[in-house]
Structures are given as C-alpha cells and as structure tokens.
C-alpha cells in the first residue's frame, strides 16, 4: 500500500526545559486537505519545521511519502512545496527573477500554470521585491509553491497579508490542487478558511494533539446554538436538560443544547415562538469549546487572535 503523505510517530521537540511538541502521532492520507489548528505557541510551526527537516526532533520520527524527514530530507523536498508565514525574499531581485530561481532550485515547474497563476494573483513581475508590499511578497511565495505542482503542499498561514479577493483566488487554487490529487497541509488561524477548504482537522494544544478527525465527526464536541424569538412570555429554559448558556436579550433567547433536543422542543412547543434558528457549531465554536470553557456565544468574523 502506498505510504501516507505524512506520518509522524511520537514526534517530540524540546527546547531547553520546554516541550514545544510532545508525542505527536498522526497520519495524513494522500489527497487529504488537513487543517492544522491551535492557539499561538501550540507547536504548529514547530511541527512544520520538523517535517521540513529545518529542525531536529528530540525524539520520534516523521516521514513524508515514506521518506524520513531528517535522513532523506532532500528527496522528501522534491515532493513538497512550502509557504512560510513570514520570510524575506531577496530585495534586489524582481518577482520574475525570484520565481525563476526558485523554480530552478525546486527542479520542476509547470510553466503554463505558473503564468496562469501570476495572472490570477495579479502580480506585477517586473517590480523588484523591495518594492513589493507584504501581500505581494506573499503572493510570490504562493505562486512559487503552487507552480511546482508538488504532491504535498505545506502552508503556514499562507493568506496572511492577502486581501479578500486574493484569498478567494487562493481557495480556488487549493480546490484545484485537491481535485488533482495533491495533498495539502494547512496551518492557519483563519477558521473560516479551514472550514471551507479542509475535510480533516487536527487541533494542537500545548504541544499535544488534542483532536483529529473530519469536521463532521468533531461536531459532536460542541453544542448546537439555538436562537429563539418569543412572541409572548419567555419560558424558563435554564433548567431544561441538555440546555446551557442561556442568554436573554429582550424577547430573544440564545442558548446551547447538547445531546437530544427533545426536552427543549417540548418546552418550546408550549410557548409562543415567533422564530427559531438553529445552526451547527462552526469551527470557531468547536475551537472555543475545546479551549475557552463550554460553548459561549458565537464569535465575530471567524478569526481568532
């Protein structure tokens, strides 16, 4: 059977006395689009650096398509492309020259696709890198990674600095990559993006893998958010089994319900309900459920600090 795109076994990284990553064991199958989430300092960038061979693990090992990330780093790099969250480019080179040299170093470039990407991302390649805004530099790195059509894309906050239009272009490119069978490993803070792109999600916290699975299978972790607008008197809902975090706002009541909604529905059937809205937990609510107490009100805009 073909080896998975990424496999780690008890991958650990210690810096001094601090465990940046502890016993990370996971497998990312070929063709998957995995969202890698966690608060700042959880170990996401450490994981990526270990996978790329930029850092050495204190224990455990990692493999990319069956190739050891440390001992067979060069061969593994032929199969992947990396977009770092923030890194300088060479200021004296133009965009065109940068893409050229990065393509030659990678060893493979789909030139027609590269030209198409440049147009879609609206990049002016005649400008020198020092004249680019941060967003434009990020675009150069994205094009450089995508144009190689690698089997694995490792992306660390790839859309930081991009405007919404370009984020949309990026999403389309990832969909196309997925359709071509490429594997994507996306470390991101933009939960809406992960929700839209990824079929699998792994959540890291304090250096340890807390959850991993499809979004659908993880939805059980958070409650369903219900918003009820009452016409007449508001019934007492706090004591209903499964219900929590009841908030009254005039005649609007917001609450969360876990497990079977039956008892709640019975109470609501007896009251004068004008409007009822339920939605499945978003990735952000899921995230907050894991990190910030249980199911507080829905967040704003889908971005976490």
């Amino acid at each position: 059977m073909a080896s998975p795109a990424i496999r780690t076994e008890s991958l650990t990284k210690r810096y001094g006395g601090l465990d940046a990553l502890r016993d990370l064991t996971m497998e990312v199958p070929r063709g998957a689009v995995l969202g890698y989430l966690g608060p700042n300092g959880a170990g996401k960038t450490t994981t990526i650096r270990l996978l790329l061979g930029l850092a050495r693990p204190s224990a455990g090992r990692a493999q990319i398509f069956g190739l050891d990330c440390q001992r067979q780093a060069v061969e593994a790099h032929r199969l992947l492309s990396y977009v770092p969250g923030e890194a300088d480019l060479w200021p004296a080179l133009t965009g065109a020259e940068t893409l050229h040299v990065l393509g030659r170093v990678q060893g493979q470039v789909d030139e027609a696709y590269r030209d198409e990407l440049v147009e879609r991302f609206d990049l002016d390649l005649t400008k020198k890198v020092r004249a680019y805004s941060r967003g434009n530099r990020q675009k150069v790195l994205l094009v450089a990674a995508l144009m190689a059509r690698p089997a694995l894309l490792v992306l660390d906050e790839p859309t930081s600095g991009l405007d919404p239009l370009m984020e949309q272009v990026f999403r389309e490119c990832i969909f196309e990559a997925r359709d071509r069978g490429q594997t994507v490993f996306l470390s991101s803070h933009v939960l809406s993006e992960v929700e839209a792109l990824c079929d699998q999600v792994a959540i890291l916290r304090g250096g340890q893998l807390v959850e991993m699975g499809t979004l659908a299978s993880m939805r059980h972790l958070a409650a369903v958010t219900v918003e009820v607008v009452f016409e007449g008197p508001v019934p007492e809902l706090a004591g209903v089994p499964g219900v929590s975090a009841v908030r009254h706002d005039g005649e609007v009541v917001r609450l969360q319900v876990r497990g079977a909604p039956g008892p709640l529905l019975q109470v609501l059937a007896g009251a004068d309900v004008q409007r009822l809205l339920c939605h499945e937990p978003s990735l952000e609510e899921l995230f907050l459920a894991l990190y910030g107490g249980d199911g507080t009100a829905a967040g704003d805009g889908g971005n976490l600090p």
Partner: protein, 533 residues
C-alpha cells in the same frame, strides 16, 4: 504633536552617543599626552624622535603630518589626530544616516510628520539634534583636553586645548552634514551610508596622495580631511582652514534641508530603480544565486582595493626613499617589514590591505548568517538543497572572492608602482597580494565554525578575530609585547611581503586551520536546528 518633537528625539540619541565618543576621544588624547613624558624623558630622545618621523613621507602618508615631535603637542597630534578625525567622520555619517534615513525608513517619521511638521522642518530639526550631539562630542573632548592640558607634564594652555578639541571634532561635523545630505539622496539607510563612506574614502585617498611627497601637496585643499590637517593644532595653528570646513558644512546642510522638502517621505531624490526586465544570468541554481547576490559587494570591494593598491603603489617610491637610515625602520621592522626603501614601505601597505581582506571575510560570514536569520535560506533549504551543499557553496564563493581581492591588490599596487619606475616586480607584488589571503581565510573559517555551532555569535566572533589581530600587531609594532601574545595575531603570523618573502608554511597552516574549521562548521550546521523564520 508638540513642535520640536523631532529635535528632541534626535538630540537625545545623538547626545548620548556624543558624550560616549567625546569621552573616548578625550581619553585617547589624555593617555597619549600623559605617556609622552614617560616614554621620551630627555630632550635628546625627543629630538631624535622628531628627526626620525618628522619629515618622513612614508609615515606622513599613512599616519598624517607630524611637525614638532619634540613637543608633547606634536607627538599627540601624530598619534591621535588622523585616527580620531576619521573615526569621528565615520561616527558622524553613520549617526546622521541612522537618525535621519534610518528613522524615516522605520516608519517613525511618518507618525511624527502626520502632526503638521513639514518635511523640511523635520529635517532641520533632526539636523539640529545632530548638532546637539556634535556639541556634546566637542564638550567632552574639550573638557578632558583642557584638564589634561593643565597637568604639569603636558602644559598646554586652555585656548590651545580648546582649538585642538575643535579640530578633532571637525571631521565629525562635516561628515554628519554629509550624512544628512545623502539621507535625502538615497532611498535606504544603507545606500545613504555607502555614498557618504565613498566620499570619506576619496577624501582620505586625496589627502594620502597629497602628503606622500610626490609634489602634489596642493591636493590637500581638495579634501575635507586635508582641511582638518591644515588646521595644525598644537603645533602652529592655522585657523584659516576653518573657512572651507565651515563653508562645506553650511552648504551641505542647507542642501540637505532644501532637498528634504522636495521629495516624498520614504523615497530618495535619486531615482531608485524599482523595476527591471528579468536578467536571468546566474539564476540557474542555488550556487550561482550566491554569485548573483554577491555581485554588488564584489564589485565595490574590488574597486576599493584596486584604488587603494594603486595609490599605495604610486607613493611607494617617494615614501620608501625616506625610510633608509631613519628610525622609522625599527617601527616598520617591528611590524614585520625590515629593510628600507620601496619594499619595506609596501610591506606595511600590504599589512593594511590584509586587514581590509579580513573585514571582507567578516562581512561574507555576516551575510551568510543574515540569510539564515532572516529566512531567505529557508526558501532554498526547504527545497531539494542539502545543507552542506548550500553552506559549502557560500564558503567556497567567499574564499574565491578573497583570492580575487588578493590578486587585485597585488596587480593594482604593481600598476601604481610601475608607473613611477619603482622597480618592484609583478611576481613579487602578486605574491604579496596572495599572501594576504591566508589570514582572511582563517577569519572566514572561524566564522564558518561559529555559525555552525553558535550562530548568534558569528558577527561578533569574526570581527573580534580581525580586531584582536590588528590591535596586537599594532601595539606590538609600537612597543614590546610578549612573544606569545604577538603570535595570536593573524597579521603577525603573515609575512610582510614584499619586504620579506612570504612564509608559505605559516600561510599553509592558516589555510589548513581555516579548512578544518570550515569543515567542522559545516557538520555543525548540518546537525543543528536552523534559526530564523
């Protein structure tokens, strides 16, 4: 935003620095003046000193004119004047470019200027702040000089001491103004500092040629450093030289303020070429990329070394002729260049070029370290490039670069010397040029080892190695140093070719050690974590 904010900010930082360097200047003057009477106790000794160095064109070209060495004033001027003037000029231009262009580039001026201060006013305020810093430099220097002057060993009047302090700060004043002007012309702080440094280099070269006794003394009036020289503090004050100094400063400063009003914030007056058609030469891979990125530095250093070598060669014959039969011979002999004549003189000039080569090596390692620290190396090392290959390519390129500089040094010196029929052979000079490579290679190897094991220390270590070797060699040249200490200096180990023939054994040992350190450094780099984004 309160008016005068730019002035206050700039003045605060400039004054802090000015006080520190004023102290350094003052202490240099004090220690030299106070030690004179203990080194040269009798009048006879002092007259001998004057006879030896006073009219010697070799030392005058390198260290500045030295009239009246039998007095403490003359001696002090010989020892510290040119060095402190150049140090002051470098301090001035670096400070000006940092506090003007650097602040602007960092975006801090945008915040201050949004409050209604015009760009011109901001520039004027910043320059006034620099002026305050210069005032602090002068004040500290003057204070210490006056106090030392009152000592019975030194016996220099208050007026003369103040004039001396003024002349010491003149270089800093002129080049501060120049740094302010280049901050308007260039687009980045580095470019601004580079333009000003070029002017300083040319001034030094003109002054050197003027003083070398080749009949071109009038050139001294074309160079700002020449004007400071003509002030002749403590030995025959010539205040009329203050006129060109003041005029230069006023004109340059006014131009700087005028230009500040005429450009965009963050840009320079000279166009910054930001677009180009792609030139794909040397972009075929990570190895040739190093060459492409290093091209501007290589060209700049080749030009600098070439011009320096040419000048040294031009003055070699006339300067060397004055060494024979004088006491300068003993100093040159201590520096490793025994004998007399052109060869001995060139032995010392190649020592200077060796120090330059050491700094080039230091710069190469600092650049490699910056590639890693700022994340540019990640773009290569996350692609199919093995770390030893990346590192090895950089080190090998730097080594070849050093050899090129050595050859250029030898060739250019020969060109200058041959044009004056100095009678030094091409082979001997190219050999002398190549001879400066092993110490620089050692520096490169030390840097390679440090970067492989302890990357944050790379820059400090390489510059410490060069600095230590230079310091030990210089001090050994003037006084007596323990043999073991002297042996730690790379420049002492290097033979002062062409005064003597190169010690190929020492050269081989230095190169061998360099290779070993580079190898160990490569292993270290391959095994450690990469730092940086």
């Amino acid at each position: 935003m309160a008016p005068g904010v730019v002035w206050a900010r700039t003045a605060r930082r400039a004054c802090r620095s000015g006080v520190l360097w004023g102290y350094v200047f003052g202490i240099s003057v004090a220690s030299t003046a106070l030690s004179y009477s203990s080194i040269y106790k009798t009048r006879a000794e002092r007259l001998r000193l004057a006879a030896a160095f006073g009219a010697n064109h070799a030392t005058i070209a390198l260290f500045g004119p030295a009239p009246q060495l039998q007095t403490v004033g003359g001696f002090t001027v010989l020892k510290v004047f040119l060095t402190l003037t150049v140090v002051g000029a470098v301090w001035g231009l670096l400070g000006a470019t940092r506090l003007m262009r650097g602040e602007e580039d960092a975006g801090r001026w945008e915040l201050l200027l949004s409050g209604g201060t015009t760009r011109r006013a901001a520039a004027a305020q910043a320059m006034a702040g620099l002026g305050a810093g210069l005032g602090c430099l002068f004040a500290l220097t003057a204070l210490i000089t006056v106090v030392v002057g009152r000592s019975s060993k030194v016996h220099v009047g208050v007026g003369a001491a103040l004039y001396f302090a003024l002349t010491l700060t003149a270089g800093a004043v002129m080049f501060s103004a120049l740094g302010a002007l280049t901050s308007q012309l260039a687009a980045t702080r580095r470019q601004a500092a580079a333009y000003a440094a070029w002017v300083l280099g040319v001034s030094y070269a003109l002054r050197l040629v003027a003083d070398a006794g080749a009949g071109l003394h009038a050139l001294v009036w074309v160079s700002p450093l020449g004007w400071t020289e003509e002030l002749r503090p403590l030995t025959g004050p010539h205040p009329v030289a203050l006129v060109p100094i003041a005029a230069f400063t006023v004109v340059v400063a006014t131009a700087a303020v005028a230009l500040a009003g005429r450009r965009d914030l963050g840009a320079g007056v000279l166009p910054d070429r930001d677009r180009a058609r792609p030139r794909l030469r040397l972009l075929g891979g990570q190895g040739t990329l190093v060459l492409r990125l290093g091209q501007p530095t290589l060209v700049a250093w080749v030009l600098s070394v070439g011009v320096t070598g040419l000048l040294f060669g031009l003055v070699a014959k006339s300067a060397g002729a004055t060494i024979s039969g004088s006491s300068v011979r003993s100093v040159f002999a201590k520096l490793g260049a025994p004998g007399a004549g052109t060869d001995a003189y060139l032995g010392v000039t190649f020592l200077i070029l060796a120090v330059l080569a050491g700094f080039v090596a230091g710069g190469q390692m600092s650049a490699a370290r910056a590639e890693e620290a700022e994340g540019r190396a990640t773009h290569l090392l996350a692609r199919p490039v093995a770390r030893p290959r990346w590192y090895g390519t950089r080190l090998a390129t730097a080594a070849v670069f050093l050899v090129v500089i050595g050859v250029v040094a030898g060739l250019s010196t020969w060109l200058g010397a041959a044009s004056q029929d100095s009678g030094v052979g091409l082979g001997a000079l190219v050999g002398a040029g190549l001879n400066i490579v092993p110490p620089a290679a050692f520096v490169l190897g030390a840097g390679a080892l440090t970067m492989g094991l302890w990357p944050r220390a790379t820059s400090p270590v390489v510059y410490a190695v060069v600095g230590w070797s230079l310091l030990v060699d210089l001090v050994g040249g003037i006084g007596a140093l323990n043999r073991w200490v002297l042996d730690t200096s790379l420049f002492h180990q290097m033979a002062a070719a062409p005064a003597v023939s190169p010690h190929w054994v020492s050269a081989g040992v230095m190169v061998g050690l360099a290779l070993a350190m580079a190898g160990a450094g490569t292993v270290g780099l391959a095994r450690r974590d990469l730092r940086g984004p």
